[in-house]
Amino acid sequence: MSDDRKYKFSWDLLGDIQAGRPNLGNTTRLEVYRLLQFAFRDVIEQHVGTEETDKIFYEAGALAGKEFYAHMLTPTADLNDFVRQLQEALKDLGIGILRVEKADLAKGEIIITVSEDLDCSGLPELDYEICSYDEGFISALLECFSGIKFIVKEIDCWCTGDRTCRFEAKAVV
């Protein structure tokens, strides 16, 4: 793809919110966020099909995760410190409550849960996990931290009747 892309991501695109929204500030109703996301899903799926759509959301999540790591976290070599920073950032930004069930970096196995997830908590029950954006987001964070590529799969989701979204991350050997 050529460099003269129109929508190439840049953190600057998030804009100067303080200047731009002196009265409303940096929060909005979650419904607006979900409206945007599910509208995208619908249209994109119509254009490229379900599988491609999930892939697009995973990749978009990964791009967001990479930028988030670069701009919101302080680089560290300590897994605990990384998790602590991430927990705090996710909670402060209202993305979700992150909990670690298992973290074995040597084995490349990490299981985390996100409660009150931005994307899916409270959604009607469906018969599939919906948080593919989160999957990509988490995979990029882990990769940025460890330098190892991770595949992240959501194994439980609010949408499939669970109370919390559970993500299983496995290092790509």
Binding site: N80, R84, R99, V100, E101, T113, D156, G161, D162, T164
Partner: protein, 442 residues
Amino acid sequence: MNPASENNLALLDAAVKNLHDLLTARTVSPEPPEELAVIGGYAQLYATLREVRTAIMAFSSGDLNCKVMMKGYVPGSIKALQASLNHLTWQTKMIASGDFTQRVDFMGDFSESFNMMVEQLDRSRTELESMNRQLYENNIKLEQQAEALRESEERLRHIAENVSDVIWTLDRSVEHFTYMSPSIAGLRGLSVDEALREPLDQAMTPESLVSLRKLLSDRLIKTEGGGDAGSVSEVIEVEQFCRDGRIINVEVAISAITDSDGQIKEFVGVSRDITARRKAEDILKYQSTHDSLTGLYNRAFLDAELELAVRGRKFPVSVIVADLDGLKRVNDSLGHEAGDKLIKGAAAVLLMAFRGNDIVARTGGDEFVILLHEMGHEESAIACERIRSCLAIYNSESGDLPVSISLGAATALTGDEILAALKTADERMYADKVQRKQQRTD
């Protein structure tokens, strides 16, 4: 009731009993009874409930790794519980590794207790760390002090063991030496061990021991009151025995090591052999007070004694002036050797005639003065007679060069009269000389 509905009721009974067993029985079979498979969805329901049962039983026995695959609200809640317990396990592990920022906010009352425990742990850890740091710093300080002390001791030991003076420490009971430098071998011919074992009273003469003990006990008394007499050094001279039986003069400089209250802990001393110096001093003193030819006292000593007598209180004091006759003639005719012999002869006569504490001095070439304390006219006259007797004895025994002495005596009743008495005695001696010369020429 028709047989079909009767059959259905029996089936329902069996299903209820089967589900009841699934909830309450100790063991259950993996599959529902075959006859219940005809009920639509029963096998699925049985499998789900059985999985819930398996998961709950696993959690209750502490196995949190059990995989729960089913979906739905109740299984979801079970999985949420599993997630919470697993997260709690992880958090505990983090706390164990020193991360005290972990807090629980999803388990009701337990959260509060748990968080209090972590905060308490954190405080204790902080306190312990601070104590530990303090201990570490103290330890470093102690180590530095110990090292400095070791260096200082090493330095002092080096000094103590390389000087010829003997350095020692003595306990405050004044019984035992607690340290003795090796140069004791050079001083007294003893090894360090022998010197340390030796009782103090065998180390020196009784007189020296008395003066040493007095000095040390005075010192102890002085510091009892908390006075700062510890560092002051006092010097005492003692006589000590050597292994080979010699007695040596030892100069001892003594000071004390005191504790923080100023109480003496030990005495420390430096002993030095001053036998040679003492001998040289004795010789010098002898030479300055004696006449080298005759061994009698000299003029300087007599003058000092007269001075003392002038200021003295014991009177009468008599003086006898004795003058050797014919010394010049002997010197001129027989030579100085004969003259010296004549002088020595006169000295021998005078020594024969007087007691040890009478002062017999040679005050000039042929002149002698005898100072007699507490003696009057009569006694001095007797003394003159004694001289003459001794002279006669001497001349009868040593023959060839007879000694002749002119004598004059006078007595002082007070100090003021002493110089006059000396002059009078001199005049009388002269008169005696003249008179005896006349007797010879008559």
